[in-house]
């Protein structure tokens, strides 16, 4: 028990140090680029709190990040490194928009049908790489990255082909009024997708931390041979994890589409899944911590946006910060000395105590 707790402390220190180092590097870049670095830095760090609107922007941006973080969590726990959740997210958004435009339905039913369809599409896309891998041995990461380009172009082509608003030229025509999740708070864009998100987080916590499937997935991902000897049906567990991950990303795409938009506006590829990798790492791959790390990532994103408005520092600085954070957390040897020193010290202490006891 004691040992486990100490190990967690080590993890927390590592994450904190990674965040600190990347923010320091960001500050150095801001000082190098901005004409008025102190104002820029102030906007970056405190911008999200400056207005009510900015703060709720953090909450709104957090919702797709949580869905994608959970998707990456379950998909990568299987030991497969698939990025296909991007395809699931985007194409589920296309599916949601299609139903939202073309199929008039009564309120409530419409939203449920849209989200169910989005989940189904996301799940089906999610299992493609693992099925190909099983048959041919082709690498799931390469397949999934190619798929992301295909599904973005295919999805946007479909929207342009069938629902293009010719007066605008790049967005779709408007959704039916019933195809909306509704605003929770007046004066903000925060929608009822937040409630769905909270429910999904709790469900995923139960599935990953409390259920047989979660345990089997954990064992399969960390040691496949052991899992095989333990009688776990590996193929089924891995396939299940990809299906669930795809469904989560798909649901995220559907929620984002009808929560935030009144027409299809995704004219560039959505890349929340890349943030999902960092969110999952920051959360120490624990589902309950994913909303916390998603909030943090959302916070620095909005902070960077506030800073870039009218300033001279571009908001893309966030990708540099995120890249550095991932690199440091993913490095086994980063702050390894800290852990090693402590372990050596304790080993010596134990030895001394044993010798005393003998004497």
């Amino acid at each position: 028990m004691n040992k486990k707790k100490r190990f967690e402390w080590y993890g927390i220190i590592r994450v904190a140090a990674s965040i600190l180092i990347s923010l320091i590097i960001a500050a150095i870049i801001i000082f190098a680029v901005a004409e008025d670095p102190l104002t820029a830095l102030n906007k970056f760090l405190l911008g999200p709190f400056s207005t009510k609107r900015n703060f709720f922007n953090v909450i709104e941006t957090m919702i797709p990040l949580v869905f994608c973080g959970l998707a990456i969590n379950v998909m990568h726990k299987s030991g497969l490194f698939s990025m296909v959740a991007d395809s699931s997210f985007y194409f589920a958004g296309v599916m949601a928009a299609t139903i939202a435009i073309a199929c008039p339905m009564p309120n409530i039913v419409h939203q449920i049908v849209i989200l169910a369809a989005a989940m189904a599409v996301g799940g089906v896309i999610g299992i493609i790489p693992v099925l190909i891998k099983k048959r041919t041995g082709a690498n799931e990461l390469v397949i999934s990255l190619m798929m992301n380009y295909i599904f973005f172009n295919l999805g946007y082509w479909l929207i342009r082909k069938f629902f293009l608003d010719t007066s605008n030229g790049s967005f779709s025509i408007g959704f039916q009024p019933t195809a909306s999740l509704g605003k929770m708070l007046k004066g903000t864009n925060t929608h009822f997708g937040l409630i769905i998100m909270i429910v999904v987080v709790i469900l995923m916590w139960i599935l990953m931390d409390k259920s047989k499937f979660g345990r089997e997935l954990q064992i399969t991902g960390s040691n496949e041979n052991f899992a095989r000897y333990a009688g776990i049906k590996i193929g089924r567990v891995v396939l299940g994890s990809q299906l669930i991950g795809g469904m989560l990303a798909g649901l995220g795409g559907g929620v984002e589409m009808i929560g935030m938009y009144k027409k299809f506006q995704w004219i560039t590829a959505q890349t929340y899944v890349w943030d999902g990798i960092l969110i999952n790492l920051l959360a120490g791959t624990r589902p309950l911590m994913i909303p916390v790390s998603a909030f943090f990532i959302s916070y620095i994103r909005i902070g960077a946006l506030v800073m870039s408005r009218g300033g001279d520092v571009d908001s893309e600085i966030v990708s540099i910060i995120q890249g550095i954070m991932i690199m440091l957390i993913a490095s086994e040897r980063f702050l390894y000395r800290l852990k090693k020193n402590k372990e050596e010290k304790e080993a010596l202490q134990n030895q001394a105590m044993e010798m005393e006891a003998e004497a």
Binding site: V33, F81, M83, I132, R135, T136, G137, A138, N139, L141, V142, I143, L145, M146, M147, Y149, I150, N153, L154, Y156, W157, R160, K161, W274, I277, L278, L281, D312, V313, D314, E316, I317, V318, S319, I320, Q322, G323, I324, M325, I326, M327, A330, S331, E332, R333, F334
Partner: protein, 304 residues
């Protein structure tokens, strides 16, 4: 299907093959040494940007080329350092570097030129194209093979060189030994880390050439997202090559073929979003077929 007999089409195929051929060789030399260079996409992006910036500000192609090479190689060595010294997960750290490069290139472009999308305000230089003497006079063949950018020739020459180095030189044997079995290589006194750094260094140089071809040859400016997954495609073409550089050339040309078709259709007014799919879809199909072939081959070999 009339385009198949069109000489311009085959010329375009070789043009499209060039960046992926460089990247495939970069992936190949890294993977033969037992490393996975997932940072290709990022290295190409950074090199493409720095080549344009270097030549744009100094007006010298040489300075541009050197800064591109330097940036792409340093980037790749950074990945090698994290993987080898800090024991970072190969896949996660590669993905992280690519993320930083795709955003970082836009950030640098905006900070330096004030434009987020393209480096149009910079008068950057390009690598020259030239004709091959004698060959250019042969009808048909000359139209396809001659008149390319000099980097296209470099790419094909490099491929043959890598084939020779890997198969005929002691350095190549060291790389392969390290890649096949780390312990065995160590036991005969090969410095595994050093060989891997050397392989990653070459990999970085090649990826930089591929990136610079895009911004200083294929077109004459840097645009954000211009590498467009070619670094990832190279991982597929490299897997198709199964460690053989000449097979890498074949698989890169297969990509160039798909890419050539999409450019041909673009000129025939097919929807741009639909035809962008073609090179990615064709490479998935080829990759899956090749993987299936290798899997069956392995199985039959095992059963003998």
């Amino acid at each position: 299907m009339s385009f198949l007999t069109n000489l311009d089409f085959w010329f375009t195929v070789l043009r499209c093959t060039t960046p992926v051929l460089f990247a495939t060789m970069a992936a190949l030399i890294a993977s033969r040494s037992g490393m996975l260079n997932l940072g290709l996409e990022g290295a190409m992006t950074i090199a493409a940007l720095c080549g344009v910036l270097g030549s744009g500000f100094t007006g010298s192609l040489l300075v541009g080329a050197l800064s591109g090479l330097l940036a792409g190689t340093v980037f790749t060595m950074l990945l090698a350092y994290f993987v080898q010294h800090l024991k970072a997960n190969k896949v996660v750290s590669g993905v992280a570097l690519n993320l930083a490069a795709s955003g970082g290139s836009v950030f640098c472009l905006y900070s330096i030129t004030g434009d987020k999308n393209a480096s149009n305000s910079l008068a950057s230089s390009a690598f020259p194209a030239f004709d091959i003497p004698v060959l250019q006079n042969i009808p048909g063949l000359g139209d396809i093979l001659s008149g390319h950018n000099c980097l296209t020739y470099v790419a094909f020459i490099v491929t043959i060189l890598i084939f020779i180095v890997l198969n005929k030189t002691s350095f190549g044997i060291h790389i392969r030994a390290v890649g096949e079995s780390e312990e065995a290589a160590r036991s005969v006194g090969i410095n595994v880390e050093k060989v891997r750094y050397q392989a990653m260094f070459i990999s970085g140089l090649l990826a930089s050439c591929g990136g610079m071809y895009l911004s200083m040859g294929y077109v004459n400016r840097f645009t954000s997202g211009m590498v467009a997954g070619r670094g990832y495609i190279a991982l597929a073409t490299n897997a198709m090559a199964a460690g053989n550089a000449l097979m890498g050339m074949v698989s890169s040309i297969l990509y160039g073929f798909g890419s050539g078709i999409s450019i041909y259709l673009q000129n025939n007014n097919v929807d741009p979003y639909l035809i962008t799919i073609i090179p990615y879809a064709s490479i998935i199909v080829f990759y899956v077929l090749f993987s299936f072939y290798y899997k069956v081959k392995r199985k039959t070999e095992d059963s003998l």
